[in-house]
Symmetry: C2
Subunit: 378 residues, 2 copies
């Protein structure tokens, strides 16, 4: 791989004025801290300066923050996804008042090495759902059920035409429902439901868990004909997701567990950058996030921002599905489809379990989504 | 493994009053959200309730926060470290005003499955440094140097008697100093320095990077006689650290990259819990953190808190070294040894590079530390 000197990563930071009265000094500090970890005066030769970040732009804000754009040489990162994360926020996470609001990647990083293996078109193809129809995903709950009980719910959702049936991300290898037995039963349930009701549902088991057992579990899933998995990237590690994606055996649904730690108002990584850009680069074909108005803290702008980052053109990196969870009642489906567009997987979790007849409620949602598609903007 | 119903994980949260005017309701919400992810009214049977968290205690605070203690069944977690993290903070990371201040583990989790393979005694033994003498660690900088230049610095530190010489955590596999060549040259440099100066230094290369290449890199290191590695747990994933620790080939030095994202004043995981308890459970033999008074944001209490968590009795889990970085000038060494005690690895980074003669400055530090040991409290 050749990296030219123009191949630079550009990161935009918001600097809180309360912490950084001199934004130019703060920007210079980030440029050094995130590369050589030395003060400029300690760098003696050109070789010692070759990797240093460069302050491209600083604008003192009128409100409570300033903005700084800092670029780093592509050679500092290469194609190491973890080093990309490290350069974006590793050491400065331990400072204050620094918020990552945008990441612009050099050409060689977005040349197809990273990103989803299936993406929006690939997942549609896998599920047999044509373009312009939004998708529905349901979650199997609650942890504590036995495998046969989980499988029964799985059947019910698949029979109702729910496109993706996923484990709750808290299902691991509990004594109540061990990984293998749960997965075998659920795969079987979905297959039976698909045959009986002429559907094409896919079951996504959660494989987040012991790294030592992960290769064996993935091999087991591959042999069993499983085609998608659920992963929590901030638990298993983003490069573990990338390495699973790279094998191209499974579509990957990413869960945002732990992500909120990064969503400080004045310090962290903005939701669209973390769940949009970064999760997409790690190979997620769909990214779950808590929809505005539900029981979590994301704003309407955060949600549309995530959608945008997952779908925006990014060289050879495929677009990924946003998977907003929560707030998807039947009567509001047309509104959500209008707001988010048809290239969305709507995740219905707890609210489905609040219905007297879960299967019927699921079918009504599938029908509302299909109808809703007609109201979607071109 | 048998898990009795008394084997419960207990977590203490601070709830910000600005966000949670009804702390009992917020505690109940955590108990459900972090286990079954369903409202209580949706749980129909005992089987559905078996994994639910239990609010043990809520105290309305007099200041700006309340305190809640919530326990979760051990069977919800088993011995899955990532599920432990998930239960502690996974989904609620996406809420606001919830701060994890303590984690109390059931017996079966601290029975020796988790935690450092070497710990304080094992690392001392490896380095030939007797009890009650503090240790010194120096960082190789800056990224951008060629392997021979990095190795020259490595030699200088080892010859000065620095106990541990580690890569800066930004050294990955850059074109300027590829992983294998850098490691080979540094291992060789340390060996030569040890022979020439009768020292026992150990070089800890950074192995944070591509998960696909990790097994091969570790095997290469093992074959080359390398005995310790540097890892950033929040980049590679905490269970990747555990799985490397479990093989017991390498002592593990953990770097706090990204950890600051969790250190919000009102929302997150307190530094002592994340860098102390959790990093220790993941198998870190030493945990680097930014010392108070340096260029980062931890307080004096945070630092002593981390030290305490790393060394406190925790059933069969070995104690680990705190590795404070920054602020370690020669004249202040006795003060730091008095404050932190001798079971500490003092990390000297940037400030060493500010000296005209780096090797001599390093030797003075080693001598000050050895002398400082005599002033340490019993």
């Amino acid at each position: 791989m050749t990296i030219s000197s123009d191949d630079r990563l550009r990161i935009t930071y918001r600097l809180a004025l309360t912490e950084h009265g001199d934004p130019a000094a703060a920007a210079e500090d980030i440029a050094l801290e995130q590369s050589v970890e030395l003060p400029g005066r300690c760098l003696e030769s050109d070789a010692e300066r070759i990797m240093v970040g460069r302050v491209e732009h600083v604008a003192r804000g009128e409100g409570e923050w300033s903005q700084a754009v800092i670029s780093f040489p592509g050679a500092l990162i290469g194609t190491d996804l973890l080093q990309l994360l490290n350069v974006i926020f590793g050491n400065i996470s331990l400072k204050r008042g620094m918020l990552v609001t945008a990441v612009e990647l050099p050409g060689f990083m977005v040349g197809g090495t990273w990103g989803p293996r299936f993406g929006i078109a690939g997942v549609r193809n896998m599920l047999g759902v044509e373009p312009r129809t939004p998708l529905l995903c349901a979650a199997l709950k609650p942890v504590g059920l036995r495998p046969d009980e989980v499988a029964r719910r799985c059947y019910e959702f698949a029979a109702a035409g729910v496109h993706i049936v996923k484990d709750d991300h808290g299902f691991t290898d509990q004594v109540t429902a061990g990984f293998r037995e749960r997965v075998e039963r659920c795969l079987d349930a979905v297959e039976r439901a698909n045959r009986a009701h002429d559907e094409h549902s896919i079951y996504f088991p959660n494989v987040t868990g012991s790294i030592s057992e992960l290769p064996e579990r993935l091999e087991f899933l591959r042999a069993a004909g499983c085609r998608g998995v659920l992963l929590s990237p901030l638990l298993v590690g983003l490069d573990t997701v990338r390495s699973i994606s790279d094998q191209a055996h499974f579509a990957i649904l990413a869960h945002p567990a732990m992500a909120g730690a990064y969503f400080g108002a004045t310090h962290g990584i903005r939701p669209d950058v973390l769940l949009g850009t970064i999760f997409r680069l790690a190979g997620s074909d769909g990214v779950i996030y808590p929809n505005v108005g539900g029981r979590f803290a994301l704003s309407a702008d955060d949600c549309t921002g995530i959608n945008h980052r997952l779908r925006e053109p990014l060289s050879a990196v495929r677009p990924a599905f946003p998977v907003p969870g929560g707030g998807i009642a039947v009567e509001r489906v047309p509104e959500w489809v209008r707001r988010y567009g048809p290239d969305t997987i709507f995740l219905i979790g707890a609210s489905l379990y609040d219905q007297p007849d879960v299967g019927r409620a699921a079918r009504e949602l599938v029908m509302a989504l299909t109808r809703g598609a007609m109201a979607a903007p071109e």
